[in-house]
């Protein structure tokens, strides 16, 4: 009895230690980035790092003065929303088709594409887009980012579609539904939370993706994350402005990630079958 209580106590302690360690490892760079963005320029690289300082918005002011920050943000938004929409447009029916037919190789193919290094796509894309005069266009960026968003949508939605009892689809068939109508009227409402989660994840991954925009964009279509790279100069690096930019870039994904949690808990299929 005492042994069991002691073991439980140890497990609780170890859990706590694990959580604290994981929290510290994950949060330290983020906190450091946010704090640095509010430090005067000379303090950003000070060693040892200062924890107590007078916060300033100078880095943010400099960022907006020296760069077309809003224009980059708009580019990021266009590319991210466009590629997320494209991912959803093709990913939803694709995931439904894979779940319906139980033929999984197309989904595995998209996963392989996602796992492959971006440079693998970059070279042929660069050549192809240049040949059709699309380098620097939003279309090229949106299409390339669909490689990020499409597998995410498919793989997040696949378990959601699989979780719907097969008999619900069969009941709809017997009721007179075509497959398209089953997707639209039965499956989509039941995987609404999955769609929201996949959209948010696709948005976050596309927003944060750096490589394609670095090569395929031009001065007018450069995304935030590619533009932030310019702060790292050959001679000197504007660490303060870079931290401010990084903080602003990280903000939308963080807000969206917080939203995902709310969606994950809802269970729409409850009551579909016996119980």
């Amino acid at each position: 009895m005492t042994d069991a209580v002691n073991t439980d106590r140890w497990i609780r302690w170890l859990n706590l230690v694990q959580l604290v360690l994981a929290g510290v490892i994950i949060m330290t760079p983020t906190v450091w980035m946010v704090l640095s963005s509010f430090k005067p320029s000379f303090e950003v690289t000070a060693y040892p790092p200062t924890l107590i300082f007078t916060p300033t918005l100078d880095n943010y002011v400099e960022l907006t003065k020296t760069t077309p920050f809003l224009s980059y943000a708009l580019n990021s938004l266009i590319v991210t929303v466009g590629s997320t929409a494209l991912g959803l447009l093709f990913g939803i029916p694709a995931a439904f088709a894979v779940s319906w037919t139980r033929i999984s190789w197309p989904a595995i193919l998209t996963l392989a594409a996602r796992m492959a290094p971006g440079t693998l796509f970059l070279l042929p894309w660069y050549v192809m887009f240049r040949q059709v005069g699309m380098i620097g266009s939003y279309t090229a960026l949106i299409l390339s980012h669909a490689v990020i968003t499409l597998p995410i949508v498919i793989w997040v939605l696949l378990p959601s579609f699989d979780a719907i009892p097969r008999s619900v689809f069969e009941a709809a068939q017997v009721d007179g539904c075509s497959v398209t109508r089953i997707l639209w009227r039965i499956a989509l409402p039941l995987v609404a939370s999955g769609i929201a989660v996949s959209a948010i994840l696709a948005f976050v991954f596309s927003w944060n993706y750096f490589l394609f925009a670095l090569v395929l964009s031009n001065g007018d279509t450069k995304t935030l994350i590619a533009a932030a790279f310019n702060f790292i100069g050959e001679g000197s690096t504007q660490w303060g402005a870079l931290m401010a930019a990084a903080t602003l870039i990280a903000l939308p994904p963080l807000v969206l990630a917080a939203l995902v949690q709310r969606w994950l808990v809802s269970g729409l299929t409850l009551g579909a079958v016996k119980g």
Partner: protein, 357 residues
């Protein structure tokens, strides 16, 4: 409303044949129950009729139309699923109206039909609820309501009572039977429960390994089983079986040498065959007042059911049961004299299980 005709139907999954060459005619307005053990192909056959499983070879007609390649959506069949398969995101009303809406039925007519079905099934108070807010029994009714509103050519039921508790199962069973009499539509009902089959069916299809063992009225299946499988499957507790031989113009149990009185028909059958399997239902044993008149057995177990008493005993090496009057309460170890009703004994070929007469 329509008849269903299955001709030389075969269903294979890869190299595995689930249903080999099956023929079946279900008449218009008939209530047919498919019964059989797990894996006998009864649900597969129902799903083939519904259009949810393709046919490997053979023909399926609903009415006069060959429907082999016709999608489930176009067959005008309603089906109640084992797990009810309600649309979880729709209210009860929408669950019931969905199929009519798809067919472009006018709103006023949809409303009238949904309300009529809801009244019939006593689910009017739940029309605005979602399935998750209903009990198992209520969901079952909604599933039936969804089928009823459509006025289809045939109703298919895939073990719809198996998830209900015993009391509710009995109640819904009676309701479905009453519904079938009111709706006068062809109904095909799949179950593994032979009581459901016996109480509801106009005719029963007993299936084993994808082949029809017998297709007849419940009375005929019970009184005149076509083979040992049907005899053992229909009836609860199951029929007792004993190896029997014809020696010195008498039927004698192969093990133990007990003489058994047989009816004329079974005696003739045994005389011709020489040896066979004798079948006696538990309810066709009577306790003999004169010990010399019956078969002496030792009581192994007594199960008083209230309406009658089940006596377990060993006879000729087989664990056997007799159903006797509830007033009789022998003790374990007591010696009883049981007398089978000679005219209600059955005889089966020991090699292939076919009935011998």
């Amino acid at each position: 409303m329509a008849s269903i005709s299955i001709r030389n139907l075969t269903k294979r999954y890869g190299n595995f044949t689930v249903i080999p060459d099956l023929n079946l005619e279900i008449a218009d307005h008939e209530f047919v129950v498919f019964v059989g053990p797990s894996g006998c192909g009864k649900s597969t056959l129902l799903r083939i009729i519904a259009g949810l499983e393709p046919i490997s070879s053979g023909d399926l007609y609903i009415g006069d139309t060959r429907v082999n390649g016709v999608q489930a959506a176009q067959r005008d069949i309603a089906m109640v699923f084992q797990d009810y398969a309600l649309y979880p995101h729709m209210r009860v009303y929408d669950n019931m109206s969905f199929a009519l809406e798809l067919r472009g039925t006018p709103k006023a007519e949809i409303d009238a039909r949904v309300k009529r079905a809801a009244a019939l099934l006593h689910i009017e108070p739940y029309l605005d609820r979602k399935p998750k807010e209903l009990s198992g029994g209520q969901r079952q009714r909604v599933a039936m309501g969804r089928a009823i509103v459509r006025n289809p050519k045939a109703f298919l039921f895939d073990e719809p009572l198996s998830n209900l508790d015993a009391k509710l199962r009995g109640q819904v069973r009676a309701e479905i039977k009453a519904l079938s009499q009111e709706l006068k539509t062809t109904m095909v009902f799949v179950t593994h429960d032979q009581i459901e089959a016996m109480t509801m069916a106009d005719r029963i299809v007993v299936l084993q390994s994808g082949t029809i063992q017998q297709y007849d009225t419940p009375e005929a299946v019970y009184e005149r089983p076509a083979n040992q499988f049907v005899a053992g499957f229909i009836g609860s507790p199951a029929m007792n079986f004993f190896p029997v031989e014809w020696r010195q113009e008498r039927a004698i149990l192969s093990q133990g040498g007990t003489v058994v009185p047989l009816g004329e028909e079974t005696a003739n059958g045994l005389r011709r065959a020489g040896s066979a399997v004798l079948g006696i239902r538990p309810e066709h044993f009577a306790v003999a007042t004169d010990a010399a008149d019956g078969i002496a057995v030792n009581v192994k177990l007594v199960e008083p059911l209230g309406s009658d008493t089940l006596i377990h005993f060993d006879l000729a090496g087989a664990a056997s049961i007799a159903r006797v009057d509830p007033s009789l309460r022998p003790k374990v170890g007591d010696r009883l004299s049981l007398r089978p009703q000679p005219s209600r004994t059955h005889l089966f070929d020991a090699a292939n299980g076919r009935v011998l007469r």
